[in-house]
């Protein structure tokens, strides 16, 4: 996927990086505005993320701060121990109503950091402490950015030469080429078509995602399926029942590494921004319960949503592959 950007904001110090030149070469029509620091644009107060969403701009920057972070406790660690995420880019070219990035950033513009070597060096330093599990597509969707940035390839190359690193590349996009390594996991987020059309704007259809999953399996890649977040809809029971039936019919789950299931949840601090960014979306207007600083569905609803997927997958004999965020 290669979105068009009317404006590209370019940090002066990022101008000479090869990644910058590659990206600018793909957008000859964009107006390039020279900036001192990405935060001058990305962190402006009172931005209209809702309107920006229709016309996202790209910011190319150098990250001279921390690049690899400890993962959030609400993220599934799949029993992997030292669990980190890399801030390779900030924000996403997709536009899911419920996405925590909308709540976290208050802007729809996308930052791509171009100093990739510095990230790899920081990662190597961390690896000296022992094996690590790294989500590289965390504050963004690197698959969706693959038409723009080379980050996905960079991380794949790095993981291929560092067996102590288990790399997860999570995406809603259609991935066309896979690196077949035991330590690279392609994690596909799958949602019912009703959820995709209503809440996951600009993302590929379920059929397209399933085709990409099957291609990955055929080529021998490590595949994770993420039924997360499950989203409340008027007819959620019918919708998710049909969805799980379709998954069981179209994907050979015996060849999938594991499956995560979780319902929508978000930090209470992010919800106001999220509601501002998507003022008419039932995905974010739901009257959530507040638990330990997070907005979550009521426990009974969480059980029902998870139960639909979990029970069907268990019945089909895949219970041993499930990781569930209750």
């Amino acid at each position: 996927m290669c979105a068009a950007f009317s404006h590209i904001y370019l940090e002066q110090r990022a101008a000479d990086y090869p990644e910058t030149k590659r990206i600018l070469g793909k957008f000859p029509e964009s107006t390039v505005v020279s900036i001192r620091h990405y935060k001058d644009v990305f962190n402006r107060p009172a931005q209209d993320a809702h309107l920006q969403n229709e016309s996202k701009n790209l910011i190319l920057a150098v990250n001279d701060g921390k690049k690899i972070f400890d993962a959030s406790p609400v993220c599934q660690d799949f029993g992997m121990g030292k669990f980190y995420y890399a801030e390779s880019a900030m924000n996403c070219v997709f536009s899911c109503d419920y996405c925590f990035l909308k709540g976290m950033y208050g802007t729809s513009n996308v930052v791509v950091f171009v100093n990739q070597e510095d990230y790899l060096r920081e990662c190597e330093e961390k690896l000296k402490e022992g094996p690590m599990y790294l989500c590289a597509s965390f504050d963004t969707d690197l698959g969706a950015l693959s038409g723009i940035s080379s980050w996905m390839n960079t991380w794949e190359e790095f993981a291929a030469s560092h067996p102590d690193l288990t790399l997860e590349l999570r995406t809603k996009s259609v991935v066309n080429s896979f690196r077949i390594e035991s330590n690279i996991i392609y994690a596909f987020t799958l949602s019912p078509d009703e959820v995709i059309s209503e809440f996951e704007k600009k993302t590929p259809s379920l059929d397209a995602r399933i085709a990409s999953v099957n291609k990955a399996i055929e080529e021998g890649a490590q595949v994770r399926l993420c039924f997360d977040p499950l989203i409340y809809l008027n007819n959620f029971e019918l919708c998710y029942n049909r969805f799980v039936d379709k998954i069981l019919q179209s994907i050979d789950l015996t060849r999938v590494r594991d499956i995560s299931i979780g319902t929508f949840r978000i930090s209470s601090d992010y919800l106001p921004n999220l509601r501002k960014a998507c003022p008419d979306s039932s995905a974010v207007l739901f009257p959530f319960d507040r638990e330990d600083g997070f907005c979550v569905y009521p426990a009974k609803l969480r059980e029902r949503l998870i139960g639909i997927i979990k029970n069907e997958l268990e019945r089909a004999g895949h219970g041993n592959k499930l990781y569930i965020i209750p």
């Binding site: 009317s6 404006h7 904001y9 107006t31 505005v33 020279s34 900036i35 001192r36 001058d40 644009v41 402006r44 107060p45 009172a46 931005q47 209209d48 309107l51 920006q52 229709e54 016309s55 701009n57 409340y232 008027n234 959620f236 008419d280 979306s281 039932s282 207007l285 739901f286 009257p287 569905y297 009521p298 009974k300 609803l301 029902r304």
Partner: protein, 288 residues
């Protein structure tokens, strides 16, 4: 950039009748309440907007700020301090129209970057609407720039206007339209020559203003006071009611009908009101 011949000691408004009426009506409460959107054009001196004066209407006002950053910031402060709240202003659009200097650029420009020459700080208006105008960056200076650098515009107000407005208004709603009047040699710039310049660009400016006007939103004016009253709602209950009504609407449900069916009309105490709110929540979330 116009030389400092016509300093305005006071901020001058060419404002809409409706705004005045509303302001008068609300003066006692100290709040100017309205749910429509205003376009507020800020210009340093009269000749920069004389040709646009006919645009003043119920939803558009022109404010003359006087020349320089302090005058500009003061004018923005005065304009927005009439008891307005962030909620009132959220959909307003500010347009700074004026002349500027440039070494080698000529014409009418939309500004995508403003640098304050004194502080070195940069500001970035968000250009999200297609205008068809060429874009340029601009430096705001304290004195007329007689030796301008190439590829950049110079003015004397923009950074102050951006900085003041951005405290209330989103950066896509702060728009800078600049016309090149000189190359730093301001002696030849007169009120007449600026009038001619603005007249020349008037069709393009009007086109841009009209396209902005067509895309204006209105402030939300949802009012559930009657529901609050019948449920004897406390402050926290009001928040819950707002949340449920908005959620119901997003789900395509009739929130008021749900409250009625849950017994909103028969509430005699706050405790009963809370039960009604809980019932509606259960219905909307399929938990009952």
């Amino acid at each position: 950039m116009v030389a400092c011949r016509a300093h305005n000691p006071e901020v001058v408004w060419f404002e809409s009748r409706l705004r005045n009426q509303l302001q008068d009506r609300n003066v006692s409460s100290g709040f100017l309440l309205y749910n429509f959107t205003m376009i507020r054009i800020f210009a340093a001196i009269d000749c920069e907007v004389k040709a646009l004066r006919h645009l003043v209407s119920d939803d558009l006002e022109i404010v003359l700020t006087g020349i320089g950053k302090v005058n500009a910031a003061y004018a923005v402060g005065r304009t927005f301090s009439a008891g307005l709240t962030r909620q009132n202003l959220i959909n307003d659009v500010v347009i700074n129209i004026g002349t500027c200097g440039a070494k080698d650029l000529k014409g009418l420009f939309l500004v995508n970057k403003i640098t304050d020459n004194a502080t070195g700080k940069d500001y970035y208006p968000d250009i999200l609407r297609v205008s068809g105008l060429p874009e340029a960056s601009l430096i705001t200076v304290d004195n007329v720039k007689t030796d301008p650098e190439p590829d950049v515009l110079y003015d004397m107000e923009a950074s102050a206007i951006y900085q003041s407005c951005s405290k209330l208004i989103s950066p896509d709603r702060i728009i800078f339209i600049k016309m090149v009047s000189d190359a730093g040699d301001v002696e030849g710039v007169t009120e007449e020559s600026v009038n001619r310049l603005v007249e020349n660009y008037r069709p393009k400016i009007e086109e841009l203003i009209n396209s902005i006007r067509e895309n204006l939103g209105t402030n939300s004016d949802q009012n559930y006071d009657d529901l609050y009253d019948s449920l004897k709602a406390s402050a926290s209950m009001k928040i819950q009611i707002d949340e449920l009504m908005r959620f119901a609407e997003s789900m395509g449900a009739d929130g008021r009908k749900l409250f009625d069916e849950a017994g909103a009309g028969e509430v005699t105490s706050r405790a009963e009101g809370k039960e009604v709110v809980a019932r509606v929540r259960s219905i909307l979330t399929h938990l009952s």
